[in-house]
Each structure stands twice: as C-alpha cells, then as structure tokens.
Symmetry: D2
Subunit: 185 residues, 4 copies
C-alpha cells in the first residue's frame, strides 16, 4: 500500500568527531527515539528504509566497515541506536547531497517511490541539500521536524523553514502524523 514512499536516514552513522560534534550528538540523541519509532512504524507498512550516509573520506569502505569505524567516535550511541537491519538499503555518498554521485535516484525509481520521508543530520547541511535535490527531481517531501537535528537549534529551524517554504515540504512531527496525512498535499 505504501510502496510509493521511502524513508531516508541521512548521516546518522557518524563519528561526530569534528568541532561542534558534541552539539550535534546531543541534538541527535534528543531525536533518535522519534526516528526509530518512525522507522518501525513505516516498515510495518512495507516502506523501504534507505540509509544515505557520508563516506567521511573512507572511499574504500563498505557499509559494515563504515559503521565499525564510526562506532569508534563520539557518535557511537547514535550509531548503536539506528543500526541498519538486513532488509534496509545503505548508500554511501561522497558529498552533501544524497543524490550527487550515488544511485539514490535510480534505486527510488526501481522501487517506484514518489514520496520521500527525509530524516537525519545535519538539518542545515546534508538534509537541506538532499531535500532540494529531491524537490528538483519532483519527489513529494515530508521532513518531520522531530527527526532532524543540527549543531545549533536556530540553524536547524532556519533550514526547516527554507525546506518548508521553498521546497513545499511538510515538516509536521512524526509522532502525530501518518504517512497518508503527511503526503496529503
């Protein structure tokens, strides 16, 4: 029934070992339970889950190696919480946008997906720019504000406002919104 929708989880497998990473970690931990609940809820409806994750300079690593490496960093509790399952997809991206230099668009077409639920970090960088690339490719967007985090709360809010205003995305919270409501234009 909801095979037209996919859940995208951005850059949650993350060492967070950079300046400001402690802020990003704190804000990620605040929302990770929402994200896990959302993932559980949509998987029950048959929605595919696609991790789209930075390579963090590890051009030769596959998903398991990347996860292992990221668990060595500050972000370990987040990585542990969001661990991909066997039937999830995992795409490694080399740059900000999940669509740039990856098979994401081709996989979405293969899965006949038209609606994207975008989640993850950082709201004001990779989520924002992935959202724009998704919008230009004419996907419908739901970016639940309680499943997105950035280093600074103000920057996260500003990014969500741009996503809502310029990309016509729904940003309603995941906890009180069904997929049907989210994509009911």
């Amino acid at each position: 029934m909801n095979n037209k929708t996919a859940l995208i989880i951005t850059d949650m497998v993350n060492k967070m070992d950079f300046d400001g990473g402690d802020d990003l970690l704190r804000h990620s931990l605040s929302m990770v339970d929402n994200l896990i609940s959302l993932k559980k809820k949509v998987k029950e409806k048959g929605v595919p889950v696609i991790y789209v994750n930075d390579n963090f300079g590890l051009w030769q690593d596959n998903a398991s190696e990347l996860i292992k490496e990221c668990k060595k960093g500050r972000g370990e509790p987040v990585v542990d919480a969001v661990m991909p399952e066997e039937d999830d997809y995992f795409i490694i991206k080399p740059k900000h946008s999940g669509f740039y230099g990856t098979q994401l668009d081709i996989l979405l077409k293969h899965l006949k997906v038209e609606n994207l639920i975008l989640t993850g970090v950082a709201g004001d960088i990779c989520v924002l720019f992935t959202a724009n690339d998704a919008y230009m490719r004419e996907y419908n967007l739901w970016v639940p504000k309680d499943c997105v985090a950035s280093e600074k709360i103000d920057d996260n809010d500003n990014a969500l406002q741009i996503i809502e205003r310029s990309l016509f995305a729904n940003t309603r919270e995941s906890t009180n919104t069904s997929i049907e409501e989210a994509f009911l234009s």
Copy 2:
C-alpha cells in the same frame, strides 16, 4: 589573469509577478547597482559573466524571448538594469540549481574556471542551492552579500549564513573586496 574566475548572475531576469514579488523587487533594486558595478569591474579584468536564469515555464523561449517576456512584469526595472551584453553567456535553467539540467558545469570547465562569484536572487532559494551544487563540484565560492537578495531580509541573512558556514564561501561585500582578496582562502 583572472580567467580562472566567472561571475554568475542568477534569476535577475524575472517577472517577479508572484506573491512576495514586490518584496523581492524592492530588495533587488537595493542591490542591483552593486551588482552592475561588480560586473563592470570584473569584466575589465577579463572575467566571463554568465547569466543563469529560470525558464519560468517557457520551455521553448531563448534568452531574448525570455527577457522580452519578463519585461512585461513587475521586475522590468531590474531586467533593464542588468541587461546581458553581447559577450555575456546566458544559460536557461529549468529548476532551482543552476547546475541541474544545464551546461553550466561543462561551460565552466571549457572556460577553465575554478572560482565562482555567485550573485542574484533569491538568496534563500536558487542562489543557495546553486551554491551547494558549486561547492560539491569543488568550485571556490564568493557570494558577496551586497549582490544577493531574497523576499525577506531575515531569510536572506539565514541563507548567507548557511552558505558561509556549510559551504565555506566568502560573503564579503563586493564594494570593498577585490577578486584576489575574495578567493585568498
């Protein structure tokens, strides 16, 4: 000498006949003189000028037809002020980013350009998303804050902050910055 640099002028050929277009017009008029001065200054140094402009749904129009049509709208005074010259390039884009579905990247490589001066409207939509696509393609970026406008001043400021923070762009004003200073990392 500065053949490594190009000046990009985004969406200034614009009817501005949408909701909020009066605000965008007012803010564009406030900065258009800076933009024209900058254009004059860099052209004297041999920097190519590339207009990258929305098709506004006119898929069959070329540059002159698009300009003619846009002059029928509220944005006429801006169009008159920034009219492209014979030796400028004019690229029509179908979506937000100047790089998506256009020859911009190929032209820049043909011109051996590595540094981009990004200007125009709207700062929080097309300039922002073009900036990100430029950053992912590893161009150095100068987005002079006095040559960019949005409907709302706050949104323009927020977008410039994202551009500066996430894309490592210089946003110094055009009036007191030389090309050399702007791209001196």
Copy 3:
C-alpha cells in the same frame, strides 16, 4: 493519445564542414525525406518534436543563430529541409549525448514522455550515445533505421545493431511502422 511519445532529431542542423562531412551529407540527404514524413505524421498525432543539437563550439548562440551559422556550411540543404517549426522544442547540447548537460530529461518528464523516437546523425556517435543515455533512464526506444545516418554505411549498421541488441530498441523503418506498432512490447 500519443502524448507519451516524443520525436528527437539529433544534430541535423550541422555545417558538415569536417573531414567526412561530404559522406555524412550524402547519407543525410538520402534519409531526410523519411525523417520529414515521420515528423509530419507524428505531429498530427500530437507528438512533441525536440531538436537536440550540438553547439559546434558556439557556446553563446541560441537556436536561430546556430541555424543561421550552420546554413553557411556544406549541410545547408539538410538544414533547409528540417527547419524547426514554431511549436517544436530546440535543445542545444555541448557534448555527444543529448542528455549530458541539457534539460532533455527534465523536459521529457515535464511532457510526461516515456517513449522516444530517436533520429538524426551521426548514427554511430551522437545517436548511439543518446540512445544509451535514454535506455539507462528507462525510456522505450524506437530508432527507425531509415531516419538515421552516419559517415560510413557499415558504421551506421554496426551502431544500429548495438542499439538493437544492447538497448532493446526497435529499429524498424519509419515508412511502414506506426507509433503503436513501434512501441508494442
């Protein structure tokens, strides 16, 4: 009814002033009447016609300027024969494939096109590589062999064989094939 189909005309606006251009001209003249008949026939059914044409190094020219310039060359009789009409689309491409650095894919989605009729020159270069890009983007392909030409007849035949074998395109002649038959299975 046939709004799902588009006719692509590749590089027929062409000076043909290069080595081997006389051969390409001769073979183009042999097929141009077929192409014009096909264009007339499909336009009557509401099929959009999209010229996808090399810039031949003229990065600043629009369609009319490019046509004017190409008419100065050996290819003039072909240009005269295939002149685009007011309601046709004209896309200028910077490289071999019609999809690379152009808005072709975005325009086709805007027009809700799923079936492409690929025609023009050279069969073993731009038509071949545009065909592959179309196939990877999951368009159905009809490349009518009597509407495609190359410098050498053998090379044209080889390219058509690759197109048929590797890209699962129909290559039946235009003169005895309807759109419905061409895209049946």
Copy 4:
C-alpha cells in the same frame, strides 16, 4: 609519477549466467591474463585500480557479497582470476555506464586522475558506454584491445572501432605499450 592515471576494470565480477554468457566467458578467459599482467604492471607504478561492476539486480549487496554471489555462476574462473585486492577500489554501478549513478567521477577527481585505462566486459555494452561518458567528461582514454571482450568477436571489434574513431581513444595492446606511450597523444 603516474598518479594521473587509473585502471578501470568493468564487470569482470560476473555470473555470466545469461544467454551468450558461455561466449563471454570464453572470450574473457582469453584476455584475463593480459588484464592481470596489466594490473600488476600499473600498480607497481602507483596507479589506482578501480573495479566498476554491475549490481546484477542485487541492490543491497556490498562488494564481498556480490563477489560471493557471482562465484556461484559460470563466471567463477574469471572472478577468481581478477579478485580485487585490499587497496583496490570497488564501485557498484546500477546501469551500463560506470559514471551513471555512481561516485566514479568524484573519486577520479579526488584522486586527481586525468587518464583512464578502460578494460573488462562487455566491450560492446558497458565498456563502450563507460568510454563515452569518460570522453564527455574529458578524460584521456586507453582501451587496450587485448583487455576487452564481448560475446561476439565482430561486435567487440566494431565497438573498439567506435571507441577509437569517435572517442579518440588509443586501443593499442597492453602487452607492448607503456602508460607513457598510451597517453602520448
């Protein structure tokens, strides 16, 4: 010294369980020793080796899983012969061209590569179309004819002729050509 060059190995990790796969296997076995020698020779000079390999419909597999699966098929002896080493790159592609929906172009820029040695199978499909995408992105090309195979020898020869003629690639044999000679325009 040769960090400007990369060796691309296309689709050699391959079940070859399709119609014609026995022919492709036989022709691959005829050239795989040349390819291994070439790989050894260029690695000694510091040239990075990049496997670019079809996903064969296995969208969720990483390199090791894909290799394991392909070893179950007819192509096992080829897979065994070309097994990637720890320091090689492995890119999984979803379609014909190694550049479409992959990070290949971004990785090559990251590695500062300008010259590509293209090898693998099938010469008249994935090697041909990867070669064109490489040419449009302005890489210099060497496609050593003794390191490329297709189902049919004639089709392989035709594809190599197109690659040589239309893409200005060198197709000299690997056994008697050095990297320097190959890319000496």
